[in-house]
């Protein structure tokens, strides 16, 4: 067995071993993902990439049909067009075959030695535009797909009488809801060994937090979504408050989103409570029950005689909202309450910011003015505001031992961003692969972040002002934290990018619809697959090898723009010149395998050595497990 040991070094570090293999793979991957991205986790393209050495039992039984279009279970080809030109902004024109299914657009060119593949799922398309393509011979029709994920592939093709127009087919399947068709998630027939719908069990999650306790109870008051149609059915509210009072509070809060507990500090019992703005109005209305409610929340924490309210909005906007029947808590009516505005702009500002970002990163990146262009998008500034706000919340709980109430206007956008980021800083459980899924399920999905409206799943109204990349912004903040604390998170960057890709793809049911009630009505869990089923079926791909469980550590990220970075491996990933020089992932994998092997050896030898020293007369020789030849595992 020990001779394997030397071959181990060979295979990992000599150019004759697996190195060559993975380099081939890498090149293949770069080609096939020229547009779909080297870390693009689209199931289809992933499996193509992985056909190299490691043939892990494929959960996605991708069937190869004519034209070599890999299809997902339940996916059907809608149309195939030959001699289409892909106008690649990086390497010029490529001619090939374009296939449109009900899930994706698949372009393959075999002009060169290695096939060129472009794989765009239809969910990611924001709008489809006709463009003019002069001087391309017969291919006189032009098509641009403006995507939600910072790219806009363009094609040139020719009109054929016999075939339906590509644009028509594309439009129909890219925006199924506008054409009375189901989202692809309801057609997807994949079977995963793990059921992701079981990841989040609110009762179990609250039990983990030590709830219910004497001050907080798990209430079924919203079990039929009557109290608040955008809240989950299970809520945690203070014990000594009557249902009548709660109903009065609900009337006083926008969209009936009453203050409910999101997280409780295991030691100080300080809590993060979320809600919507109070309906104070221009006449400074008061609600005795609401005031008492906050008083009870304050009293539930014996460590502090104060309560801090973080209003995520800009103070000027909050004041304006008073005129629109909204408003904020007056410190004179609510005793011992401290009100802070976090001055975060609204969803429209964020949408505009990311739109500007797209112009900066796609298709060309300006070398000389890169930094000032990034400054002009203000994207990092908003990231800073969010992280700083969340850090303030976390610090208030951790250092101030004071309970906090977080709200914005409706309590489903900035509120979700802030509470989930603060919880990520405070609670190491949410920094695990499983825990993060719980966090997203809880603070975002169950508490009614309007994913359908913000993303615009299957809807062709691309100009809808309800759309905004709030979840992207949140994931960006998480990524910033993973950069600053590289060992504190169990998941890796691929996990974050995968989540964002499937935020748009409509392949999984996880991010569909606006609220728990809508999802229940549509029977989403029964009829679709959860993203977590896919993730948790192959957790090793999404795991950070450097993870250390810093239990009970509170992470405060540095929020100065000097310490924030633009997430270029997500936003600028389509540019082939942005690919990292050293495939760090692969080097890591190699080293991890090598380390595991060495560790095994050390343990074995120790066992051997100790068995000798303990009983030198003992004649039972240690059993050697044959060392696995490593290259097969790389």
């Amino acid at each position: 067995p020990l001779s394997n040991f030397s071959s181990l070094f060979h295979s990992v570090f000599s150019p004759t071993g697996s190195h060559v293999e993975w380099c081939k793979q890498l090149i293949a991957a770069t080609i096939s993902s020229q547009i779909s991205g080297s870390v693009q986790p689209d199931i289809g393209s992933r499996d193509i990439k992985d056909t190299g050495v490691n043939s892990r039992p494929s959960h996605t039984s991708v069937k190869m049909f004519q034209n070599q279009v890999p299809l997902l279970p339940g996916e059907t080809i809608q149309t195939t067009v030959k001699d289409v030109m892909y106008i690649c902004p990086f390497s010029g024109l490529v001619t090939g075959t374009l296939t449109i299914t009900d899930y994706k657009l698949y372009f393959i060119s075999v002009e060169k030695d290695s096939p060129f593949i472009l794989d765009v799922n239809l969910g990611v398309i924001s709008r489809i535009e006709s463009i003019s393509v002069p001087n391309q011979g017969e291919n006189n029709k032009g098509l641009e797909l403006v995507c939600k994920d910072m790219r806009s592939p363009r094609f040139a093709y020719k009109m054929e009488e016999s075939q339906p127009d590509v644009v028509e087919v594309l439009t129909k399947h890219a925006f199924p809801l506008s054409h009375s068709l189901p989202l692809f998630a309801f057609l997807y027939k994949e079977q995963f060994p793990v059921d992701g719908w079981k990841v989040y069990d609110p009762a179990a999650e609250y039990r983990r937090q030590g709830l219910p306790n004497e001050s907080w109870t798990i209430s079924k008051i919203n079990s039929t979504y009557e109290l608040c149609d955008t809240y989950p059915s299970i809520l945690v509210i203070p014990t000594n408050i009557t249902d009548e009072d709660i109903k009065r509070v609900a009337v006083f809060r926008a969209k009936h989103r009453i203050p409910v507990l999101s997280w409780i500090h295991p030691e100080s019992q300080a809590t993060i409570v979320r809600c919507s703005q109070p309906l104070v109005g221009p006449s400074d209305r008061r609600c005795k029950e609401d005031e008492r409610f906050l008083q009870i929340i304050m009293d539930a924490n014996a460590q502090s005689h104060k309560l801090t309210i973080f209003d995520a909005r800009q103070s000027s906007v909050a004041i304006t909202n008073k005129g629109k029947d909204g408003g904020y808590e007056s410190e004179s009516f609510y005793s011992n309450v401290e009100l802070n505005f976090l001055e975060i702009p609204n969803i429209h500002v964020m949408r505009e910011s990311l739109r500007k970002m797209k112009d900066v990163v796609y298709p060309t990146i300006d070398e000389a003015h890169w930094h000032s262009f990034i400054d002009q998008t203000h994207w990092l500034e908003y990231i800073r505001l969010l992280l700083a706000g969340a850090a303030k919340v976390a610090d208030k709980l951790e250092s101030g031992k004071t309970s906090v109430v977080v709200h914005c206007s409706d309590g489903w956008d900035r509120t979700a961003q802030l509470t989930s980021l603060a919880m990520l800083m405070l609670d190491s459980y949410y920094r695990t692969l499983r825990g993060f899924q719980v966090l997203v399920e809880k603070e975002w999905i169950s508490f009614g972040h309007k994913f359908a409206a913000r993303v615009g799943h299957g809807d062709e109204n691309h100009a809808n002002s309800e759309r905004s990349p709030l979840f992207v912004q949140f994931i960006d903040c998480v990524w910033q934290m993973t950069r600053q604390f590289p060992a504190a998170f169990e998941f890796n960057e691929l996990f974050l990018i995968t989540m964002l890709d499937h935020l748009y793809s409509c392949l999984f049911g996880t991010f569909l619809h606006n609220s728990e009630q809508e999802r229940a009505n549509q029977e989403v869990p029964a009829k679709t697959v959860s993203l977590w089923s896919y993730i948790n079926s192959q957790p090793e791909d999404f795991t950070n090898p450097f993870y250390v469980d810093y239990e009970n550590h509170v992470l405060y990220p540095m929020v100065s723009p000097r310490h924030l970075e633009l997430w270029t491996s997500y936003y600028a990933r389509w540019n082939p010149r942005m690919r990292p020089q050293v495939p760090v992932h692969q080097t890591l994998k190699d080293l991890l395998i090598l380390r595991a092997e060495l560790q095994r050896r050390v343990e074995e030898l120790q066992r051997e050595a100790s068995s000798h020293s303990l009983s030198s007369s003992s004649d039972h020789s240690p059993t050697h497990t044959a060392g696995t030849p490593l290259h097969t595992a790389v």
Binding site: C23, I27, W370, E381, A487, D549, R562, Q599, L605, A609
Partner: protein, 834 residues
């Protein structure tokens, strides 16, 4: 002692009388050495002391605060943390402790009081008691001390005044007094003169050093010439230069006049594919070219390549020293932030302001030029001559960057040090003028070397696993540049260094005591202390910190056998070698041309002989340009990876001599945060229990692999003394084991010192062996999880990434004894290596 120091404090006014002061202090040495836990250097004297002071720790140090005692001597501001181990008087002196700041590197002293900040000058008086003392350093560190309420107020004020008065004011002479404060004592001089030069690196001082390099590169048709032995040919060139074998010294002598400062084309490096890198100054144009001269000049320039020479003009596309100086001062202003002027850049303008410093543009242009040269060299069988007017600034940058890109040896610590010796120290970069220690020559000041370090860092950050040296090493070098103590940086050329050390033979032959004046006519002050080279890291850094200068890397496969000195693997070779002998091209702005006046002797028609005229004319037809352009294009293709397959086979990216070509797009050029943003103390709103650990993941994993390998060795030694009575089976295992240890060199170069770099967390082999053989008690099992907000996760056991729990449950866990963890340096913080 403190009363004594008061008097020394006044001595400042008597500065000229250094000798007397030194003598007066040497008497008290024995007692002053161990003063309140501070280990003084010989002759060093404490001017002021303040107790119960806290030092703010940077992210790299683990963040938070450290309490201890603050000292001000006439050499440094020293901070001794509470509970730090008692200094060992017998250990070799270390100039600066981990928390110390040399006075010479302090640029500004600022105090923060209640609601206000004040810049403290030697003459200012304070109307409030400072709560915080902030030292802004030239190396872009910002060191911050907090005075507790427990610190006696008088100590706070005295300390502030002491530092303000003693830190080096920017004027000549103060550098000398600083050097004397550090190195001037008799003991220190004695100590320095007994130090040996590190034999691991090539110093490029003797002819044999150069020959060794020629041999390493396989450059067979070159020779070392001592024609400049007494600096008579060129004052700035080193004593030994490398020239083509076929050129005789007598022929060589006539060529010096044709180049600015006599800096003729000299060999720097040979690419394994048989191309040579040369550098030279600009041509002297107003000189008559004799026929013989021309023959010699052509021979020198073409070196061993008969066919093709590309002259790379460095002036146009690269920043001038003045540009670099301006950019760097802007960068400093931006990154340091300054609480005394509250002139910090608004958050939303940070990136734009960074861009407008042009610092990143300049690193990009250097890297781009070096990439072009690297691609040309890769083509094989040509000579690339870097030409700069003076050949002392950007040619140092580009020639050494090319070698870092192409030569894995130059990415090791010793190799890199040799490279700096070769291209910068011997290449006569004007360190002394460019760094401007005396602040008396602002016009010449330009941190060209720091720009080079930034370029190397850019390469390092894009190819972390291809470097044996680490970011810590680059940082240490960066910081050392700002200390006026090292012979490496305190001269402009070898001649000056030799003059200073009063020994023509070697730059660093320490003088045996300052009274021993060998050359009374020497211009230098006889009391000058001997200056060490910067490479003597033990003078500056403790062993644990030095161990972080390197990381294990996969070994470089040895050069494949050379065929006639050339490696015939170049696909483009035939296209280039069919060139007319003597073709010369100019590379400028990414295009090749052959202007008639490129080689002045060729353009002057009167003197050109028939032979050269003929070849000259044919070369003018530019028929080689496409071939050359293809070489450059290979680089562009790298930027579009999908095209890689067609140009280079599967071996392409794996060839260790393939250049590391950096990505140069805006997002790919990073700011060296670890260096320039160390001082951004005010960026943070909270104190932090955890630090962002900045070891690169690959670095960390590699360290673990190395640790495991060493453990294997340990275990193998512990099994060695197995009684011979055991069965055959284990004995077989033993032999295999030894084989393993040998095979271990597969993984990492055997020359690597066994414990360097990686073994921070590993126990010393002997003690581990003892533990293993004895069978440590169960109490030494890994500790449980770190407590709430524990400073760093240092109580985690050694192999923790992800799979640690498996080991936890393993019966052999006693091996990972807790005591080995206790040795972890604090700065490891939450690192994975802990």
């Amino acid at each position: 002692m403190l009363t004594g120091s008061k008097t020394t404090f006044k001595v400042r006014q008597m500065l000229p009388d250094i000798k007397e002061r030194m003598l007066s202090q040497s008497g008290v040495n024995a007692r002053s050495r161990d003063l309140f836990g501070l280990r003084c250097l010989p002759g060093e004297c404490v001017l002021q002391r303040a107790v119960m002071v806290r030092k703010k720790l940077t992210a790299r140090e683990g963040r938070g605060w450290l309490s201890g005692t603050l000292f001000c001597t006439h050499f440094r501001v020293a901070f001794v943390p509470q509970d730090s181990p008692k200094p060992d008087d017998n250990a070799d002196p270390v100039l600066l402790g981990d928390h110390d700041v040399a006075l010479a590197s302090i640029e500004k002293v600022v105090v923060v009081g209640p609601n206000r900040t004040k810049l403290v000058t030697p003459h200012s008086s304070l109307k409030f008691t400072p709560e915080e003392l902030v030292l802004y350093c030239r190396d872009m560190r910002v060191v911050c001390f907090l005075f507790d309420r427990l610190t006696p107020e008088s100590q706070v004020l005295e300390m502030t005044y002491s530092i303000a008065k003693t830190y080096q004011p920017p004027k000549p002479g103060s550098v000398l007094s600083f050097q004397n404060a550090a190195l001037g004592s008799v003991e220190m001089k004695q100590f320095l003169s007994n130090r040996r030069r590190d034999a691991h690196m090539n110093w490029f001082e003797s002819a044999s050093d150069w020959e060794q390099e020629l041999e390493r590169c396989g450059a067979t048709s070159w020779r070392v010439s001592s024609v400049n032995d007494r600096f008579e040919m060129s004052t700035s060139l080193p004593r030994f230069i490398v020239v083509p074998q076929k050129v005789l010294d007598t022929e060589l002598k006539k060529s010096f006049a044709h180049f600015n400062e006599g800096r003729i084309p000299r060999w720097c490096w040979r690419h394994p594919r048989g191309s040579d890198l040369l550098r030279m100054a600009s041509f002297q144009n107003n000189i008559y070219h004799e026929k013989d001269d021309i023959r010699n000049l052509e021979m020198i320039l073409f070196g061993c390549q008969s066919s093709l020479c590309v002259v790379v003009e460095l002036g146009e596309e690269l920043p001038s020293p003045a540009d670099i100086q301006l950019a760097h001062s802007r960068l400093r202003a931006l990154c340091l932030g300054d609480i005394s002027t509250s002139m910090s850049v608004p958050d939303d303008k940070w990136l734009s302001t960074l861009e407008s410093t042009h610092w990143l543009d300049y690193t990009r242009s250097c890297l781009r030029k070096a990439s072009e040269v690297a691609c040309l060299l890769r083509g094989g069988h040509l000579t690339v001559a870097l030409q700069e007017v003076e050949d002392r600034d950007m040619s140092c940058v580009v020639s050494s960057l090319v070698q870092v890109m192409c030569d894995p040896h130059c990415r090791t610590m010793y190799g890199f040090q040799g490279l700096v010796q070769k291209e910068w120290v011997m290449g006569a970069h004007r360190f002394y003028s460019r760094i401007n220690y005396h602040r008396d020559n602002d016009k010449e000041e330009a941190p060209v070397f720091l720009l080079f370090l930034d370029c190397v860092w850019q390469l390092w950050s894009q190819y972390p696993s291809r470097f044996q040296l680490t970011e810590d090493f680059l940082l240490a070098l960066h910081d050392s540049v700002h200390l006026p103590l090292f012979s490496t940086f305190l001269a402009n050329c070898q001649r000056e260094r030799c003059k200073r050390s009063q020994n023509l033979g070697q730059c660093y032959t320490p003088v045996n005591g300052w009274r021993d004046v060998l050359h009374p006519d020497s211009s230098t002050d006889p009391s000058d202390p001997p200056l060490p080279p910067v490479w003597d890291w033990s003078l500056q850094y403790s062993k644990p910190r030095q161990s972080r200068f390197t990381q294990p890397v996969p070994p470089t496969p040895p050069l494949q056998p050379l065929l006639n000195g050339n490696l015939n693997t170049n696909p483009d070779k035939h296209r280039l070698t069919d060139a007319v002998p003597g073709s010369v091209f100019l590379l400028s702005r990414g295009t090749f041309s052959c202007p008639t006046n490129l080689l002045p002797w060729r353009s002057s028609s009167s003197s050109s002989s028939g032979v050269y005229k003929k070849s000259h004319r044919r070369a003018l037809s530019s028929e080689n340009v496409p071939g050359l352009e293809r070489l450059l294009k290979a680089w562009a293709l790298v930027e579009y990876p999908q095209a890689l397959t067609s140009t280079s086979g599967p071996q392409g990216p794996l060839d260790p001599y393939e250049p590391l070509l950096p990505l140069l797009m805006g997002p790919c050029m990073g700011l060296w945060r670890e260096c320039y943003l160390r001082g951004a103390l005010h960026a943070q709103a909270f104190s932090h229990p955890l630090s962002a650990n900045h070891l690169h993941p690959v670095e960390r994993l590699a360290q673990e692999v190395q640790q495991l390998k060493d453990k294997l060795e340990q275990v193998s030694t512990s099994t060695d003394p197995t009684p011979p009575a055991v069965t055959a089976e284990p004995r077989r295992a033993d032999t295999n084991l030894n084989q393993n240890t040998n095979n271990g060199t597969f993984l990492f170069p055997a020359s690597r010192p066994q414990s360097a770099g990686v073994l921070r967390a590993a126990p010393p082999p002997t003690s581990a062996n003892q533990r293993t053989s004895r069978g440590a008690p169960a109490t030494s099992a890994p500790q449980s999880r770190p407590a709430h907000k524990d400073m760093g996760g240092s109580s985690k056991h050694t192999f923790l990434f992800g799979h640690s729990s498996v080991i936890d449950a393993h019966p052999d866990q006693r091996y990972y004894s807790a005591s080995s963890n206790a040795k972890l340096p604090k700065s490891n913080g939450p690192s994975l290596a802990s």
